[in-house]
Symmetry: C2
Subunit: 744 residues, 2 copies
């Protein structure tokens, strides 16, 4: 009996086992085993991984990165620049913490440098040719950094070489209105104009003066605009504070368009056709040179003539006069002229981007791009190395996870360390020109972190409205340095607005200019972009930017003492930007919010209607097509949101989430029109292009309206009408991309 029971049990067990095997492998018809990729394609953000990332981002690593990056000056194409290229490649090719791969992309670009053998000179020369004063050639040293022989003399890149000599006048900021104000009472021909930074672009200070016969231009940083009025290096300015010392000079690129100027709309490869340099538009037609306020003080306070208006006055303890032209009769400079001897040389030189790549596991052909430039004017601790230090820390932490096999993003990630940004966003622009098709088709978003920390008060961010949501989400998960709240709450405290959809939220900016490498991505390619940094408490300083900007004082010493002691704000930026990056790369449904886009368009429309509708009616131009377009856009957004919300996208056919994501990813592309701004190089995004009208609304409409309003010519009103059609059709086109069949 026992034997039989045992046999029975064994038999039963065998039958059970056979049954299990049959059930598992033999019943294909009703439920084939799911292929292993079924889970992969549904993969979403792993929150525990985000936490791991946040906890591993290390401020000491960032500090060390910055120390290494700022050992020597690394102006574009110099040996210091090449050292940073090698550093990036070494880090990104590191077998323990590097990326899948990293490589160099080289472009031959048109740059401008002073002549080290013949430095630029600015002098005050008496009628008998005696040199009464010579402007300081280089900045005064306070640390060994300033005596490095590789510190480039302050100069205006792309200023023509040449000699200009004439009586001095004070032209405020060098705006068109400033020169026309001076021109009311004096003949400017043959004069030298001294101007302050601010108000208009650098090159414009020369471009605006030349038509009046101005022979040369000086530009300086007024202590009122940058130093909250302080100007003594005995106890007030660096090395005693973050303020700019008297001899500090902001260098810069003096040109009006971005990218390599000899190869418009083409990648500047060695063999690429180059236009003749004489065909370049938007360069200073007359010599221009930046100087320190120490020298500017000596010149301005000796000027003759009527006192300039109150709005022209600055931080010096004297009245800013227009100039006789020339100096006061009581001055030791009486009857003297100011002379500029500029020896800048243009050169075509090879400049490198360093590219890094992590291949996506599920959607390798979708790119999240994260970038910053690598070149500086001098040591560039803040601009750009704060951002590069942050990028290197993000890639170290992510690279380690990739190398350890604990993580691989759903989508591919491209890191770009751009070259020659300081000369006009050249490396990033050439990259977008070389790869514009694949980048247009595949890029989810571009994240720019250039100056990671302007100051240590609060996060600041700008971007397309659709990224607001994801930046907020990321910022909520990061602690604000030195405070008991999140980066998000801290931000809300410093700057906020009320949104119809969300209530009180931090106020983000829009990327309407070309201040950093986001410009070719957002304006030229129409890729959804953002720019992230830590920044000021505006209630505590009026500085136009951090005071050592583009000077020989932007050093590790300066950054670690006065911008971000302990590098905790750098850490907060790395955590926030890295979190945004991970979420864009890993989310099943792209976290790009088109409802927020619709909000912004409606806000712009409201402003446009308030400002323009009445006047446009009077010239028989209707704004109804624009209203209709914005309404259609909202309707398309609502319909898409409904599809997303009513779907179970993790379990439905994976091509469904892909087409929804494609609609979200490509939305900004639909706002491009290569003909919308014929006079603005590479600006094609009809919503976010730059504008000179200064209105918070559609840029092309605002500029065309301002132009027509001032000329009152029928042909200029026609241009307003034309741009309204361009704009309305772009918005409708964008709405149609949010549908499957384009039937609106």
């Amino acid at each position: 009996m026992i034997k039989q029971v045992v046999i029975g049990i064994v038999c039963g067990a065998v039958m059970l086992a056979v049954g299990i095997l049959i059930g598992h492998f033999g019943t294909g018809k009703r439920g084939t085993a799911a292929p292993s990729w079924v889970k992969d394609v549904a993969r979403d953000v792993d929150e525990s991984l985000v936490e791991k990332f946040l906890s591993e981002v290390d401020n000491t690593q960032i500090e060390n990165n910055l120390r290494e990056l700022t050992k020597v000056p690394h102006m574009a194409t110099t040996s210091g620049d090449e050292e940073t290229v090698k550093l990036m490649l070494k880090r990104w090719q590191d077998p323990e913490s590097g990326l899948d791969k990293a490589w160099r992309e080289e472009y031959w670009v048109y740059l401008s440098f002073p002549d080290p053998e013949k430095p630029n000179k600015v002098t005050v020369v008496s009628p008998s040719d005696t040199v009464l004063h010579t402007v300081r050639e280089k900045e005064k040293p306070y640390t060994p950094d300033q005596v490095d022989p590789e510190v480039v003399q302050p100069y205006a890149a792309y200023s023509p070489a040449g000699h200009a000599k004439g009586k001095l006048v004070y032209a405020n900021q060098g705006k068109p209105s400033d020169y026309s104000e001076l021109n009311r009472t004096m003949d400017l021909s043959g004069t030298i104009a001294i101007t302050k930074y601010g108000g208009v672009g650098r090159a414009d200070k020369a471009i605006n003066g030349a038509p009046y016969g101005v022979a040369g231009v000086l530009v300086y940083t007024d202590p009122l605009d940058m130093n909250d009025g302080l100007m003594s290096d005995i106890n007030e300015t660096y090395p005693y504070s973050w303020y700019l010392p008297p001899s500090g000079v902001e260098r810069g690129s003096f040109k009006s368009q971005f990218g390599d100027m000899l190869t418009p709309y083409l990648a500047a490869k060695e063999e690429t056709y180059r236009i003749p340099p004489s065909d370049i538009k938007g360069l200073p037609p007359i010599p221009i040179q930046p100087i320190g306020y120490e020298d500017a003080y000596k010149l301005i306070c000796e000027l003759d003539g009527d006192p300039a208006p109150p709005s022209w006055q600055g931080g010096f303890n004297c009245t800013y006069n227009y100039g006789g032209p020339g100096f006061k009769s009581t001055s030791s400079f009486n009857n003297s002229e100011v002379e500029l001897d500029i020896y800048n040389r243009e050169e075509v030189k090879p400049s490198s981007n360093v590219m890094g790549f992590i291949r996506g596991s599920v959607e390798p052909d979708r790119y999240v791009i994260y970038g910053n430039h690598r070149d500086s004017w001098v040591h560039g601790a803040i601009d750009p190395s704060s951002g590069t230090s942050v990028m290197l820390e993000i890639t170290r932490v992510l690279g380690k996870m990739v190398k350890q096999g604990t993580w691989r993003p759903r989508r591919s990630i491209i890191f770009g360390s751009w070259g020659a940004e300081e000369f006009g966003l050249i490396g990033s622009t050439e990259y977008t020109e070389q790869y514009f098709t694949a980048l247009s088709e595949r890029s989810v978003a571009y994240i720019n972190v250039d100056i990671a920390v302007f100051a240590n008060a609060t996060l600041g961010a700008s971007g397309m409205p659709s990224v607001q949501n994801i930046i907020f989400k990321a910022a909520k998960q990061v602690n604000a340095p030195g405070r008991d709240v999140s980066v998000y709450e801290n931000w809300l405290h410093y700057t906020n607005k009320t949104s119809p959809t969300h209530g009180l939220i931090p106020r983000m900016g829009y990327l309407t200019g070309a201040g950093s490498d986001y410009a070719p991505f957002s304006h030229y390619l129409g890729i959804t972009s953002m720019d992230i940094s830590y920044t000021y408490d505006k209630s505590k300083t009026n500085a136009r930017i951090y005071p050592a900007y583009h000077t020989a004082y932007d050093t590790f010493d300066y950054a670690s003492k006065y911008i971000d002691p302990g590098f905790v704000s750098h850490q907060a930026v790395a955590r926030t930007a890295g979190n945004v990056l991970i979420r864009l790369a890993d989310s099943l449904v792209l976290p790009l919010n088109c409802t927020d886009y619709a909000d912004s368009l409606e806000e712009y429309l409201k402003t446009a209607v308030n400002l323009y509708e009445e006047k446009l009616k009077a010239v028989n131009i209707s704004m109804e097509p624009l209203k209709h377009a914005v309404t259609s856009f909202r309707a398309a957004v609502l319909a898409l949101e409904k599809v997303i919300q009513s779907s179970d996208l993790a379990n439905e056919m994976p091509l469904k989430v892909r087409w929804i994501n494609d609609q979200l990813m490509l939305l900004d592309r639909a706002f491009l029109d290569p003909l919308a701004f014929p006079d603005k190089y590479a600006y094609r995004h009809v919503i976010w292009a730059s504008s000179s009208a200064g209105k918070s609304t559609f840029p092309g409409l605002a500029d065309a309206f301002a132009n027509a309003e001032s000329s009152e010519q029928a042909s200029d009103w026609d241009k307003v009408h034309y741009h309204l059609s361009v704009l309305s059709q772009a918005i409708l086109r964008a709405a149609s991309t949010l549908t499957d069949d384009m039937q609106m």
Copy 2:
């Protein structure tokens, strides 16, 4: 014992059943049941469905379609046109055999019509103002079709209204060289030039003459160019054959660019901004009128002056003289002048596209587009109704399968019945302007079947090289009408070439012009396009096109008697084009072959090197970058083909086949450069743009070279160099889109 055995068996059976259940439902970890969509995403072409489609395409249905479409003339925006709009909508909205949906897209477009109250007149007037001859106002009737009051008088659309009177000269085809030849020996100012069709675009015949002071132009079809010399309507021409009767006149659009001319690069909606008509470029500056050869004969054979060169002679039984200017002294027209009284009027009128849509089941956001225009000049039996009849038969068969639930394509299909094509591809161009973003991003291919049957000898096809493969495959599955071979084998017999990859294959053409609605898709959007038809035995006729083209004789009677009796060639085209459509819509991997693209680029390169390299070296322009680009393209193609061949795409992650398909789909987009051809409206594809140089190679290079070679100016050689950079970078860009990470 038996009892125990029974219990044992029952137990065993129970255990087995339990085991099966556990195995089936309880072993989730190792093999969850596959979701039902796993099969759907791997769906490929169903060959039995293709066979069903081929067998259901019915020649009688096509014949009936053509009869219905050609009941009345249906020139764009006329009541006859509106009837065809309603017919298309009715068919496509039919509950038994219609599409998922169909709708109308309306544009307000700039057209040109003769004045029905004041017909255009061409007369021979004696010095005493006696009218000695009046050119026939309308074509001579042979069937009731020609007497329909809706038959539009022959005219040159967009010829300016006006009166021109002068001595007649014979200017051959009105090419620049023709007028300059005449100008060698006579003063052309104030003359009327009579020209033949052919050689240059219609409008050019007036544009080229105007600078010489020519006051008006006549144009006619020479019997040698169209009728193989035959010209008697007693027994030789229609209604006795397919040849053009003596009074037949080719109407046409006399303009140089396609699309609505008042709204360049914008959709011509009612509210869209319109440029002033005076700003339109490329229109005839002087009156021009087409006439029949019956009248041309009377004029040309009376001309005085020297005999024109042999190449200018035509089919008339007289010597074609240059003209005195004017007529022979022995002629009854002695001393007479020819007068043109043109009353054409331009109007902005609403024109409709009819759109049809079948939603894709797996990839609804991928479009295969199939289109043809709907408007004709008169009854338009061949142009365009042969194509429309074929399209309606394809949609009937497919629509029935969709309505019956037996088929739904993997990708979406868009059908377009375009309006106002005869006035310059207006409906299709406005559609691409309105939706260019979504169309660029989502379109797999565009299939154009306009004139479906020119003649009944063989299939003919043109397109991007990547579609050759799929057209061949489709053609192999269709029987050639009246022959015992496939359409493919029949085609191979008529026209063939030897390919390095495939051996002997039928010779396909490239779409380098703007002859039909493929142009905005291929040239402006860079969508892979093709044009399919049945066509001539070139050994049997020299006709420039089928002789009734754009005349009042292009009727159902003509088509059914002389073009395709029995409609079997129509049927073969419907089967071939429909098969291509189904395969593009249903294939798992898109059947677009980039190896064939590389072959074509290498062929173009070889020709370019042969023609240009030596001369370019002499002016210091290197072709190496272009060679490098073509080599890189080939390498990228090989790499992609290797990926495709080494993958098991039906069983791998469905996003893999999607990204491979996206690379294939978007390849042509990478060749676009909006700045490559600044003087050619909407031409942006650097490989297939139109060219005037007449060389089988890269069009922009060929034209720039021809220009520089004739001017020998350094600035023109610079343009060659510039275009070489544009071209090389576009090819490299295309190569980079065939990789995942853009690293070449």
